[in-house]
């Protein structure tokens, strides 16, 4: 049983002049295990802000609302505590960390999330298996974290972490962007393996409908102007595919002025 509940979430970021700008303007969303939610919206609608705010990035200030995981207050937790509680964010732009190898990083993260260090031999077996499933070259383990990785390699590495860390709720921030069709299928395969396991829920943030052909969502939310403006089933993605976001962007612009 896992439920991520977001209520009336308002989030601001500091702007260049020292003031702050509101990006999220009252988001309500509930993601339970066994469910896959797709959040779709145009650039600049605040989709990534939602992902980072859930993960606790210090740049984003929550000014109102609540986020809970199985009733626990997520906003009161540090970034690492959120991850240990069962939240995972696959990042749109994973950062390069020089001098930290993939295997060392993965083992440290797995140890932190599971609360005990896995036996080295078992961990290596597990890591190699997960790598093989995502068509990741085993030599990757000794490379520095994300350093010199191609866009597709970075995204596969994010999903590799998802499969090893086994969170309750995974937030995937534009994991599909920049992937060619073969890489997209591999990444979608990883996401599907994850969500087929019991107790797992997915919040898939995307700009394009393409990934939804490989990862079928149960719910689709249209995100415009920092809030959800329409909700529906998978058929809503088809509407977006043929009509785009124009209808909601226009309505949103009208409401804001």
């Amino acid at each position: 049983m896992a439920t991520l509940q977001i209520r009336d979430l308002h989030v601001s970021v500091a702007d260049a002049t020292g003031g702050s700008r509101e990006i999220l303007r009252g988001v309500d969303l509930t993601v339970a295990d066994g469910q896959t939610h797709a959040i779709m919206g145009p650039n600049g609608s605040g989709k990534s802000t939602l992902a980072y705010a859930i993960a606790g990035h210090p740049k984003y200030e929550v000014t109102r609302g609540s986020v809970t995981l199985d009733g626990e207050d997520v906003l009161g937790m540090s970034v690492d505590a959120r991850a240990r509680a069962g939240l995972f964010l696959a990042m749109q732009y994973p950062v390069e960390v020089p001098g930290v190898t993939v295997s060392n990083f993965l083992r440290t993260a797995v140890t932190a999330v599971r609360g005990e260090a896995p036996k080295l031999r078992e961990f290596l077996k597990e890591m190699r298996g997960a790598m093989a499933a995502l068509s990741v070259d085993p030599a990757f383990a000794e490379r520095n974290l994300n350093e010199g990785f191609s866009g597709g390699e970075k995204k596969r590495h994010e999903i590799l972490q998802l499969e090893l860390l086994k969170p309750k709720i995974a937030v995937l921030d534009e994991t599909d962007s920049g992937l060619d069709i073969d890489a997209l299928k591999v990444v979608a395969g990883g996401i599907n393996r994850f969500r087929e396991e019991p107790g797992h829920g997915v919040l898939l943030i995307t700009h394009y409908t393409r990934i939804l052909r490989y990862v079928q969502p149960d719910f689709v939310h249209v995100f415009v102007g920092g809030r959800i403006v329409e909700e529906g089933g998978p058929e809503l993605a088809d509407t977006l595919e043929s009509e785009g976001y124009e209808r909601w962007v226009k309505a949103g612009a009208g409401a804001a002025s």
């Binding site: 950062v95 001098g99 440290t108 993260a109 932190a112 860390l165």
Partner: protein, 383 residues
Amino acid sequence: MSALQGAVETAAPVSRLHQRQSFDPADFPVPTGREEEWRFTPLRRLRGLAGDAPLPEGKVTVECDPAPEVTIEHSERSDPRLPRTMIPADRVSAKAFAGASEALVVGVPAEAVASRPTVVSVRGEDTAGAAFGRLVINVAPMASAVVVLDHAGSATYADNVEIVVGDGGSLSMVSIQDWADDTVHLSHHHATVGRDARLRHTVVTLGGGLVRLAPSVRYAGAGGDAELLGLYFADSGQHLEHRLFVDHGQPQCRSRVEYKGALQGETARTVWIGDVLIRPEAVGTDTYERNRNLLLTDGARADSVPNLEILTGEVVGAGHASASGRLEDEHLFYLMARGIPLQAARRLVIRGFFGQLISKLDVPELRDRVSESIETELARMEA
């Protein structure tokens, strides 16, 4: 932000900064702190090493554990067999030459390959007075060796290390400054790299109240290769200064400089000067120098001054880079978003920062020792 110091260009060209050379201390005026080569050094903390008043004799012992293929000699200052490749370039170096009555000479005979590292241990026993030292490392043509110079204890010490790598020879030298907090150590290392010879010179400075170490390299023939590596970790109260000079005066030579430092504590202070001169005759030179500093706490200050003067148009490559900054928030966020607590995330990033340099230490025990020292420093930070 006062803690972040960018690259400051020096006023004088490199060729002019290193012109003056003499064995007579009187040829160098007592520094006032306004000179280019002294402006970063807190002169009042030198305990008279740069002054002109005579100092009582300090207590420093030197012991050597040589590889079986390596010869050890204690030579009189005037011994005509001593190489004459190093002429002091500042007052303290000249005073150290004048003050050291004998030289310890580590010799590697022609074509000999040393089967294990040779360790020279320098132990300070008292900070009172001043001690002077002279070490000569003479690697004959086609010979190869690893030499470790290991400093510890309490001292007021100035010394010169003269390094000669003969044609086709190879030397990896590691100098560890692991002094007690009350030590003042001013040191000059000068290496002459022969034709097709290789030198890897590594500096690890962890302990000492004030350490100022100036490694310089000159080439005696074409095809020489010098790699100058450095790692330092300064806590509050420490001033750790490294001043490098690579003098390219021969064709087809290569040099690489990579120094990395971390600073923690409000009054931690480091200085890195990287002077590289490519003379008109040094065609085909390939050089790159890099310094990076990690400021772990507010108030710490790192100065970093790369200075490259190129007097020929025909170089293979010549560049420098310098960056000083804090741990990157985005690095820490990424690691923490995977459940890794802040302290552990900081350790991972800092270990990663030094890791590549540590892996280049040519003695496995030293890799462990330096890694452990850094862990100790980090534990101190977290306490």
